[in-house]
C-alpha cells in the first residue's frame, strides 16, 4: 500500500509542488495549512511521514513537531521540516523538537525525493 505523507505549509503553491512531486513518486498525500489544521486532520488518520513548513500562522512547525512527537503514532515517524537559508537557529530548534531532517527552500523535486528515500523506509 502506498505510504501516506502529510504536507503542512501555509503556502498553497508549496503544497501543490509537494503534492505533485510526492504523488508522482507514488505516495498518498494529504495537506494541511498550519499546525492546528494538521493536528486536527492527523488525529484520525496518522501518516507514515510528515513534511512541515516552520513559519505558519496559528500553530507553527516547531510546535507541531513537538506535539506530534508526543502522540503514540508520531513518536518514531520521520518528520521533514522545510526551512529557508536564513533560519539556522530555527533549524536547531526544530531538530531539538524532534525533526528528522530538513530541506532548504527553494528545493528541487529530486532533492525532496532523495531525502525521503533515506528517512522513509
Amino acid at each position: 500500500m502506498a505510504k501516506k505523507i502529510m504536507a503542512v505549509d501555509d503556502s498553497a503553491t508549496i503544497r501543490q509542488v509537494l503534492k505533485f512531486t510526492l504523488q508522482g513518486a507514488g505516495f498518498q498525500v494529504s495537506e494541511a495549512e498550519d499546525g492546528d489544521d494538521a493536528l486536527a486532520k492527523l488525529a484520525n488518520d496518522p501518516p507514515d511521514m510528515l513534511i512541515t513548513d516552520l513559519n505558519m500562522p496559528r500553530m507553527d512547525g516547531i510546535e507541531l513537531i513537538r506535539q506530534v512527537r508526543q502522540q503514540p503514532w508520531g513518536k518514531f515517524i520521520p518528520i521533514l521540516m522545510l526551512t529557508t537559508e536564513s533560519q539556522e537557529a530555527k533549524k536547531l530548534e526544530g531538530k531539538a523538537a524532534g525533526a528528522s531532517a530538513w530541506l532548504v527552500k527553494p528545493f528541487k523535486p529530486e532533492q525532496l525525493l532523495a531525502i525521503i528515500n533515506v528517512v522513509l523506509l
Binding site: Q16, A101, P106
Partner: protein, 715 residues
C-alpha cells in the same frame, strides 16, 4: 524554468498575500511596534519568496528576499519601524506585483526602479549587519574520475535516534548505494535483556566502503545526524600504505581505529604462541571479535585494491585449456583428503613436531585450494553484455520500450556455472519482457514511464552469488495463478495457500498463466525448466511480486560446483552427504513416533505433516535400526521431504569427485567424496530420489484403489 502547472495557483496566492501585506503595513503605520502586524508582514514576504523560489520565479524571489531581510531584522528587534520603512515596503509591494504581472505577460519592469528600492532598503540596515558573507560557490576538489578510494567509516548514532524518526537502516542503505560496501554491526554496547530499552539504539556500525565519491559525499549521507552522532571516516589511501611499508599490518589498522593501544599490541605479540595475531589479540581480550573482523576486512580490501592496481600495471595473462584446470582441481581434492588424514593421524600421536607440520600443511592446502578454485572464476559481465542485444531485439518484436540496467558485472562465478546459467537467465529476461512489462500505452495510463526497466544484478553473499532479475511491470496476477492452479489440479478448491506458496506455483511443471501463446515465450517451456536448471546448479530460485510495481526473481547459486557444503550423515556403516543448501532442519524420530504414524512414512514437524523416506531402505543397507533415528528435512521439488538416517555427523565441506562412467545410470547420486579417514561418502541428489519415491507411492495407491474397486463391484 517555469513550472506552468503551478503558475496559476502561485499568482492567486501571491495576490492574496500582497493585499495582506498591504493591510499589515498600513496597520504598522498606525502602531509601529505592533508585534502581530510585524509578524504578519514578515510571513507574507516570506511565503511569497518561498513559493516564487520553488517554482522558478527568480526575479520575484530575489527581490522579495531583500525586503524580507530588512523585516527579519525588525522582527528580531534590530531595527525600528519607521515611516520611511513603511513607504519603501509599500513601494516594494507594488514592485513585486509589477514583476509578477510582467512574468504573466504584462508590461516589462524597469530594473533600475527595483534596484532603487532595494538600495534604499539596504541603506536602512545598520552597518554591522550588512557584512553578511556572500554565499560563494564552494569549490570542491572533485575526485579524479573512476578513482576508487576505500574508506573505513564508524557510525555511532545517538541512542535516541529513533525518537527523531530516523532509522539507521536508511542511512546505511544510502551508503551502500555509493559503492561496494561491507557493513559490520557492533553489538558490544547492547545491554542485558532486562536493562534494554527498546526505544533506544545500542548498535553502532563499521562500514568498509569502496567508492569513487569523495569524503564530503559520504558525510552528506549523515547530514541530519552529524551533530549528534559519532562519525569517523578514514580514507585508506596510498599515504597510509606507504607509511606501513606497502603492507598494512593488522596491528596497525587496529591502532589506527583506536581499538587497540600500542602497548597492548606489544604485550600480546611478546606472549604470542599461535601464528595468528588476530586470534591472540581476541583471546587476550584487548580487542573484540567484531573489531577484528573490521580490521581484517580493511586489510582484505586494501589487498584487493593493490592487486587491482597491479593487474592494471601488468595486464598480462596466459590462456590455459580448462581441462588442465579441471585436473588440477581433482588433484587438490586428493590433496585435501590426504591432508585430512595427516591431521587426523597427527591428532592421535601427541607429537608436537608432527602436529606443527600437519597444521602447516593444512593451511597451505586450503590456501592452494582457494587459489585454484579462484582461477576458474570469471566475471559474469560477459554474459550480461549478451543480454543487451537480446533485450533490444525482443522489445522491438513485442512493440515494447525496454531498457536493461545491469549491476555487479564484475561479480565472479565458476566458469561452468556461468556457462550453464545463460539459458535460464535468457528465459527469465524473455519472460520479464513478454509477461512482466506492460505495453507503453498501458504504462503511461498507470502513470509510469513508457519505457520499462529490467534490472539485472549480481552480488556476492558469503559462499553464494545472488542474481536478481527485476522488472517494473504490472506484477504477477495472483488470481490468474489461482485459477490456473485449480484447473490443473495443483491447488484444491478449499485449500488457501499463503502468498509465497501461491507465487511459487509458477515453477510447477507445465504452468503458464498467459492464455495465448506468443512467439517469444509461453510455448509450454515454463518456469519449471528454469527452476530445474537452477536446481541442477545446486541453486535456488524464488519470486516476489507486487501488483503494479513489478516482479523480482532471485536466484541463489553456489560460487563453485567443485566444492559442496554438505551435511554428513551415517546409515549403518555407510556415509552420505546431503547438499546443505537444501537442508532445513534435523529432527529426531523415535520408534514410538513411527508406531503412532501407523507405520506410514510421515512425521509431524511443528504441525505440518512431512513425508520421509528411509535411506536404509532405498539403498538396501542391513543392520539394526537404532532406537532413535534422525530425519533430515530438506527442500526438494518444491516441497519438504525428510530423509531418515541413523546419525547426523555434521557439516562437511568437500571436493566433489564424479562417479565413473559405469555409474552414469545410477539415479539419486550426484557424486562422491573421500573422507578424512580414506573412506568414501556418496553425495545424494535429492530431487530424483523424491521423484522416484513419489512414483512408487502413486503406483501403490493406484493399485489399492483398483483393488478396492474390484471388491466393491462384487459386493
Amino acid at each position: 524554468m517555469m513550472m506552468d502547472q503551478y503558475a496559476e495557483t502561485f499568482r492567486e496566492e501571491t495576490l492574496e498575500l500582497l493585499s495582506e501585506l498591504e493591510v499589515g503595513l498600513l496597520e504598522l503605520e498606525q502602531r509601529p511596534d505592533d508585534a502581530d502586524a510585524i509578524d504578519r508582514v514578515f510571513r507574507a514576504l516570506h511565503t511569497v519568496k518561498g513559493s516564487a523560489g520553488m517554482i522558478g520565479f527568480e526575479a520575484i524571489s530575489g527581490f522579495t528576499h531583500e525586503v524580507e531581510t530588512v523585516f527579519e531584522l525588525v522582527r528580531s528587534g534590530g531595527l525600528a519601524v519607521s515611516g520611511e520603512l513603511v513607504n519603501l515596503t509599500l513601494a516594494a509591494r507594488d514592485m513585486i506585483k509589477s514583476i509578477m504581472e510582467a512574468d504573466f505577460g504584462g508590461a516589462a519592469v524597469d530594473p533600475q526602479a527595483a534596484e532603487r528600492i532595494t538600495d534604499a532598503l539596504r541603506a536602512l540596515i545598520p552597518v554591522a549587519d550588512t557584512a553578511c558573507p556572500a554565499a560563494g560557490e564552494q569549490a570542491t576538489a572533485a575526485a579524479a574520475a573512476g578513482d576508487e578510494v576505500t574508506y573505513h567509516i564508524r557510525f555511532r548514532p545517538p541512542a535516541n535516534i529513533f525518537q527523531r524518526g530516523i532509522q539507521p537502516l536508511g542511512l546505511l542503505q544510502e551508503l551502500a548505494r555509493l559503492g561496494r560496501c561491507r557493513i559490520i554491526a557492533e553489538t558490544d554496547a547492547v545491554p542485558e535483556l532486562d536493562e534494554l530499552d527498546p526505544e533506544l539504539c545500542y548498535l553502532y556500525w563499521d562500514v568498509i566502503l569502496t567508492t569513487e565519491h569523495d569524503e564530503d559525499r559520504i558525510r552528506d549521507v549523515f547530514i541530519f545526524v552529524e551533530d549528534d552522532c559519532e562519525l569517523k571516516i578514514v580514507a585508506i589511501n596510498d599515504d597510509l600504505l606507504d607509511a606501513a611499508g606497502g603492507e598494512l599490518r593488522l596491528g596497525d589498522i587496529l591502532i589506527q581505529h583506536g581499538d587497540l593501544t600500542a602497548e597492548d599490541l606489544e604485550r600480546v605479540m611478546r606472549a604470542q604462541t599461535r601464528p595468528m595475531l588476530g586470534e591472540s589479540l581476541v583471546r587476550a581480550g584487548v580487542v573484540s571479535g567484531s573489531q577484528l573482523d573490521v580490521a581484517l576486512e580493511v586489510q582484505a580490501e586494501v589487498k584487493r585494491q593493490q592487486q587491482k592496481r597491479q593487474a592494471l600495471d601488468e595486464a598480462s595473462s596466459i590462456r590455459v585449456r580448462s581441462e588442465k584446470l579441471d585436473s588440477l582441481v581433482d588433484l587438490v581434492g586428493e590433496l585435501v583428503t590426504v591432508q585430512a588424514r595427516l591431521s587426523q593421524t597427527a591428532a592421535g600421536q601427541d607429537d608436537p613436531v608432527l602436529s606443527e607440520i600437519a597444521e602447516e600443511v593444512e593451511r597451505l592446502t586450503w590456501d592452494m585450494r582457494d587459489h585454484i578454485l579462484n582461477i576458474r572464476m570469471l566475471p559474469i559481465g560477459t554474459t550480461f553484455s549478451r543480454f543487451q542485444r537480446l533485450v533490444r531485439d525482443l522489445s522491438r518484436e513485442l512493440g515494447k520500450e525496454v531498457q536493461l540496467v545491469t549491476a555487479g558485472a564484475e561479480t565472479e562465478l565458476d566458469k561452468t556455472v556461468i556457462e550453464r546459467l545463460g539459458d535460464p537467465l535468457v528465459h527469465l529476461i524473455r519472460n520479464a519482457i513478454d509477461h512482466g512489462l506492460e505495453a507503453p500505452a498501458v504504462r503511461a495510463q498507470a502513470g509510469k514511464t513508457r519505457q520499462g526497466t529490467i534490472f539485472l544484478s549480481a552480488t556476492h553473499s558469503g559462499a553464494n552469488v545472488i542474481l536478481e532479475v527485476r522488472d517494473d511491470g504490472g506484477g504477477i496476477d495472483r488470481e490468474a495463478i489461482r485459477e490456473r492452479a485449480r484447473s490443473q489440479g495443483l491447488l484444491s478448491g478449499d485449500l488457501e495457500s499463503n502468498d509465497s506458496e501461491l507465487l511459487n506455483l509458477i515453477f510447477s511443471p507445465g504452468f503458464s498463466t498467459v492464455g495465448e501463446v506468443s512467439s517469444v515465450s509461453g510455448r509450454g517451456v515454463g518456469m519449471d525448466v528454469v527452476k530445474r536448471a537452477i536446481d541442477s546448479l545446486r541453486g535456488s530460485i524464488s519470486v516476489d511480486s507486487r501488483a503494479g510495481e513489478g516482479t523480482t526473481f532471485t536466484v541463489k547459486l553456489p560460487l563453485t560446483l567443485a566444492i559442496i557444503d554438505g551435511l554428513l550423515v551415517q546409515v549403518a556403516d555407510e556415509k552420505f552427504v546431503l547438499p546443505l543448501s537444501a537442508v532445513e532442519e534435523c529432527i529426531e524420530l523415535s520408534r514410538a513416533d513411527v508406531a503412532r504414524a501407523n507405520r506410514k512414512n510421515l512425521i509431524r514437524v511443528r504441525g505440518e505433516i512431512v513425508p520421509y523416506l528411509r535411506l536404509r531402505e532405498r539403498f538396501g543397507l542391513d543392520g539394526a535400526l537404532p532406537e532413535i533415528e534422525q530425519v533430515v528435512v530438506a527442500e526438494a521439488l518444491g516441497q519438504r521431504v525428510g530423509f531418515a538416517v541413523d546419525h547426523v555427523i555434521g557439516e562437511h565441506q568437500t571436493v566433489i569427485k564424479a562417479l565413473g562412467l559405469m555409474y552414469k545410470d545410477v539415479t539419486g547420486l550426484s557424486g562422491a567424496t573421500i573422507l578424512g579417514d580414506g573412506s568414501v561418502a556418496l553425495i545424494l541428489d535429492l530431487p530424483p530420489l523424491v521423484r522416484e519415491a513419489e512414483l512408487a507411492e502413486r503406483l501403490l495407491t493406484d493399485a489399492t484403489r483398483s483393488q478396492r474397486h474390484v471388491v466393491s463391484s462384487h459386493s
